[in-house]
Amino acid sequence: MQRPILELKGICKRFPGVIALNNVDLSIYSGEVLALIGENGAGKSTLMKILGGVHQADEGLIRIGGNEVQVRNVADAQFLGISLIHQELNNLDNLDIGGNIFLGREPLYGGPLKFVDRKKIIEQSKRYLQKVGLNISPSTPLAFISIAQQQLVEIAKALSTNAQIIVMDEPTSCLTLTETNQLLKLIGELKAAGVSVIYISHRLMEVQTCADRVVSLRDGKNSGQLAKEEISRESMVRLMIGRNIDLKRRETYNGNLNTRIEIRQFISPYFPNHKVTFDIRKGEILGLAGLVGAGRSELAMTIFGIVHSLGGEIVVDNNAIRIKSPKDAIQNGIYLVPEDRRKAGLLTALTVRENISLPNLWRYTSAGLISYKQELAAAEEQRKKLAIKTASCEILAKDLSGGNQQKVVLAKWLSLNPKLIIFDEPTRGVDVGSKAEIYRLMRELTDNGIFILMISSDMEEVLGVSDRIAVMREGALMGVLEAKEFSEEAVMKLATTPIEHTEFANH
């Protein structure tokens, strides 16, 4: 057997209060696609940051082509042919595409004056952009292109450094299905060209499609690996969490057709030309599918009152309600679990207790002053109910794992009196174990008569969790699928149907 191009041996890394990596080994051969899986906090990203020179290992060694190397910083990593594509894109969107590709390595002229050679940048960028199948001028500002295209720019950047090893940390978490498939195809091409790819993802379907080998981490340690023929959903889950879990959708749908929340002729300011009408039935989870940019989050934000709707109404229990601000929405029992947990869902610098009490602080006051005791009691109650894993309610929200943070966001709303909860990408960046728990919680909520609208770009989730699926495209509702019609093709067909044929389509 050939020698691995890259070997990591006995890597240890400590952070304040945690051992992120404990004696981790990893090796990859040239032209191999290695999937690195594990729950959140298992240490995948940390390991890759060490490889990419962002962090330094406390112990352990790195070998490339059999020689021990030091990766002290990102420049070292680049020099060694390692390129890291981060979980959150680290692009500068005030620069153009070319500027990003050659960031920090700009070709210069003018000797000591060090002028940037724009011509050369444009010329060379074009070549790398073609390689990744992106036909856009390199002088396009990065802010003008989609997230998927930005991802491709990152890969072009990696190619331009002659990277032999490309690490992709959750590259598809913001991509739609078509874009994901394009990326997977590109990975195949890279592989054929002898580039090694380390692929990190929570989406096991993708891993199954593209990986030659799977290595799993759990709690900062190696928890096993799978050869290509052993890769299956069950085997991966077992390695990641040490047990089997079941993500099955409820078979019998018992939604109540008569009690429902109706969204009638609703117009969001983002898509003023489209009226959206649909209903959510009691006891069901209505999935809202579509490509990124289909206007789903915008619809959710409008319903929740972050922006003002331009028309239409929301009918709850036969009463039309007006929502001008999130405050109005909350008073009417309509809550949003936003897409970006750390930015909009939580105050990460506040404690779990303070986060849970925030939407309804007045309830925990006496004589206008906040009662710490009442606040804590409410938070503790939610912690028990939702099994939020935290040492106490006085821990800062930022120190919790993704899944537990999501539960805190949910706890905020459950301590009130919810009627409708809109989940926007409820399990983005959440590990498999916590995912199952969140699905279970959502199901429990519907059983208790709470309406749920779930926006999701994860096809597995949309098909697996929803009772019905509404599909949007460019701000318009393209149709609603009943359970018996569910299939990936059916969803994609609606999500990509040209808009002219189905203008103002309802169900």
């Binding site: 051992i19 060694l61 869902g345």
Partner: protein, 345 residues
Amino acid sequence: MRQKKEVGMVVIFLALFFGYALLEAFQRGFGATWQNPVFLGQANLLNLTRSIGIFGVFSVAMGIVIITGGIDLSIGAVFALLGVVLAYLLGSNWPWPLAVSVIMLVAMILGLVNGLLISKMQLQPFVVTLCGLLAYRGFARFLSSDQTAGFGDTTGYELLRQLATGEVFHIPAPFLIFVVVCIIMAFVLHVSVYGRYLFAIGRNEEASLYSGINTKLIITSAYVLCGFLVGISAILLAFYTNSISPASHGTFFELYAVAACVLGGCSLRGGEGSVLGIFIGTAMIQLLRNIVNLQGIDSSLEFVVMGCVIMVAVLFDQILGAQQRTRKSRIDMKQPNPAVLAARK
């Protein structure tokens, strides 16, 4: 941990305070100091506490907007403007309650303008209040034709003058006013719903909005509240100096307030700070000014000393914080790592 910071500040303040008392004893001899202390003498202590009181009230005002993630650079200029107007009104024989009402109203309206520009128009607090700094000072100079305005010995508003220069039980009135403001604001900021909202918005405005807080209203109100306290300070300061030269009255005072807040543990990123901290921060700065004065250090060096001390204090805090974090992270792991040894062989 938040509490610890303020405890540390109190310790540093006391060390500086008694340290300097001791220094004086060494410099002048223990006997002479005991007989007739300068630093610990009644006159100096009255002066010190009076200036703490006057600077403290508007430092708390600054603290409120800093906690929301903002800043108010116009405070000093507002002092000049309000001072000129107050001198004019009282000089025109307005009854003082009416004049004070006008001043407070104007102060709060200026705050409201700042607040609306920042929350509704989404302008940056630094820019908005920088414009205020320039505009209000210029306006004050224009109104007074750049002439110094004073209250002289006119009668009819002794009570007002007493608030700035008087004493109650040998404690300067401004200091008492400051303490009352602190107690009220401590409740408002640290125990009331409104205070929690302020801190929440300072930490993350978007998430606060998503939690149903009317962020624009709260931010605007913070600037109005700031304006209210600035109005009180403006009146105290006007009578404290007794004459208002529009070009220099209150210059740099907003920066004293920022310094007090920063020393007291406020973060300019917002969402952090406490009334107790601001109290100690103000006391510290006034103590420093006092010491610089008493030591006969050239007044032009006063800002050098203060700049350095604040920098050292903030640096110290940063280093201590970093140490605390690393100490937490020292968790035993087995050394040496056998896998590494094996691989090296």
